[in-house]
């Protein structure tokens, strides 16, 4: 059951007042513009045991994503497609407010929203990941671990997932005498597009991009919009406030423009297509 609760991070009254004052003057407490994201750093191949991995820092939020490739049965109804599963976990290392245990609803939402962006954009060409049609397919797991949480885990996790997939080396598997054999060779992941999520929150009447944890503690509503080269592919409104139709249309436009910038940056950092 989903229960309304107070923010786990307590922002002092005075601090919130400072934030509201700054926002009314078009500024943010860390000096950023409303449409300015925090610095994005991407490090690849941080885990050699994985088929692909990435460490992403978005400001002080830090996420590691690892790709593991296995084989298995296809999903029901998708017999001639490989399987791709993105999951996410907020580790107890991430903040004093996280306890070990089964994922809470926020973590379930995080994993499902990131998964939706990758799935609906058809980033990975799953038709190319079939070994025996209807029987054996590649199963690709992307597991994300949030190491440090300082707001906007949606985008940080999404960028980590995309970067890990772009840089992953897919083992070339073959069928020999009804058995799956690893040839020892690798190939690039069959990627068709690069989905980029952009998250904005509304605080009062202002809509600001890439919220920090402190800003999230003061937010009224949140929206995450994922675009691919072709256009929009996923969206999730969250939190207990509402948006006007105009605010959403404007956020969608911003998500497209900012998405282009981040996509170019991630392609460059992962040397994708080079």
């Amino acid at each position: 059951m989903s229960v309304s609760k107070r923010s786990t991070i307590i922002v002092e009254h005075l601090r919130k007042q400072q934030m509201m004052d700054a926002i009314s003057k078009g500024k943010r407490l860390d000096g950023r513009d409303f449409n300015e994201q925090r610095p994005l750093e991407i490090e690849l191949d941080v885990v050699k045991k994985a088929n692909g991995s990435a460490r992403v820092r978005l400001g002080d939020s830090e996420v590691i994503a690892g790709v593991k490739v296995e084989t298995g049965e296809p999903f029901e109804g998708l017999e001639n497609k490989g399987a791709l599963i993105v999951s996410a976990e907020v580790l107890p290392t991430a903040s004093p407010h996280v306890e070990p245990g089964p994922p809470d609803e926020e973590t379930v939402e995080l994993a499902r929203v990131v998964d939706r962006g990758v799935r609906e954009s058809e980033m990975v060409d799953l038709d190319k990941l079939v070994l025996v049609p209807g029987k054996i397919v590649y199963t690709i797991f992307v597991d994300c671990s949030v190491i440090n949480a300082d707001g906007n885990l949606f985008d940080a996790t999404s960028y980590a997932t995309v970067s890990a997939l772009l840089s992953a080396k897919l083992p070339v598997l073959e069928m020999q005498n009804d058995k799956v054999v690893d040839t020892g060779k690798t190939q690039p992941m069959p990627v068709t597009t690069v989905p980029i999520s952009i998250t904005a929150v509304r605080i009062g009447d202002a809509v600001i991009l890439d919220p920090s944890a402190e800003e999230e503690a003061c937010m009224d509503a949140r929206i995450t919009i994922t675009t691919s080269e072709a256009g929009f592919c996923a969206l999730q409104k969250g939190y207990t406030g509402a948006f006007t139709i105009e605010q959403i249309k404007k956020a969608a436009e911003t998500a497209r423009i900012k998405g282009e910038e981040i996509r170019a940056k991630i392609k460059e950092l992962t040397k994708y297509g080079q």
Binding site: V3, K5, R112, G231, Q236, K249
Partner: protein, 246 residues
């Protein structure tokens, strides 16, 4: 998901015979559960959903209570027999997410500050599912909350729009959800002109995005009228008709 077959025929009719701007038939009955403080039953196409509201009442366990407002607790659940293949009754990750977005869709409409230290429980049970069950569930829950006499700023109406055969259509059904190009569920408060739930999965070209959103909002406004009529029917019965005639 890329579409593999056409879902709109040459006459512009969809798989269930509707046009692109047509909503499935909607029927709402208010107060169907006698024990609940407020309740509603909705048929939205083939969706059959009951919503019950209990509260405001004491919070158990007490540590969940908030000093300045009421906690809203929401459960969206699908009965094992509601789907083609039996659904495991344990809450799935999908249901966890929908319970959350449903709560967040209803909260902006409720004056929770009027009931500090209390809880309002909303239970939504899908008896038969037909695509768009979260929208139908929110629509029913909102009516049930009004029936329970909870102070509200507005009624939340929900409806989806989506893309089928590269056309933007109103109110996606199950087949269109599974095989179509995009699904955009939206919950909207017509009086306040605000969106309280919005999701999208599937591809939309930039110019289709606004069209799809506008269409979903239009659908919400139609649903709102049906919600109002259902509430009027329970509380004023045929009196309203008489008044309107005069």
């Amino acid at each position: 998901m890329t579409q593999t077959r056409n879902l709109i025929d040459e006459n512009g009719k969809r798989t269930d015979g509707r046009t692109i701007n047509e909503m499935r038939p909607v029927k709402i009955i208010v107060g169907n559960i006698k024990n609940a403080d407020g309740s509603a039953y909705i048929e939205f196409g083939k969706n059959k959903i009951v919503a019950a509201v209990y509260g405001p009442r004491e919070v158990h366990p007490k540590h969940l209570a908030l000093p300045d407002r009421c906690v809203l607790r929401c459960r969206y659940h699908m009965s094992p027999f509601s789907t083609d293949t039996r659904k495991n009754p344990a809450p799935s990750r999908r249901e966890v997410e929908i319970s959350k977005v449903m709560r967040e869709a209803l909260e902006p409409a409720l004056m929770l500050e009027d009931y500090p230290r209390a809880a309002i429980d909303v239970f939504v049970e899908v008896l038969q599912s037909d695509g768009g069950s979260r929208c139908a569930g929110i629509t029913a829950a909102s009516v049930a909350l009004a029936d329970a006499g909870i102070n509200m700023r507005d009624i939340v109406a929900a409806c989806a729009a989506g893309k089928v055969d590269d056309k933007i259509v109103l109110d996606i059904n199950d087949t269109e959800d599974k095989e179509g190009g995009a699904d955009m569920p939206v919950a909207y408060m017509p009086r306040l002109d605000q969106i309280t739930l919005m999701q999208l999965d599937g591809k939309l070209a930039p110019e289709q995005f606004n069209e799809c959103l506008d269409k979903a909002v239009e659908g919400c406004k139609m649903v709102y009228e049906i919600q109002r009529q259902a509430l009027m029917q329970k509380y004023f019965g045929n009196e309203t008709e008489v008044k309107e005639e005069q």
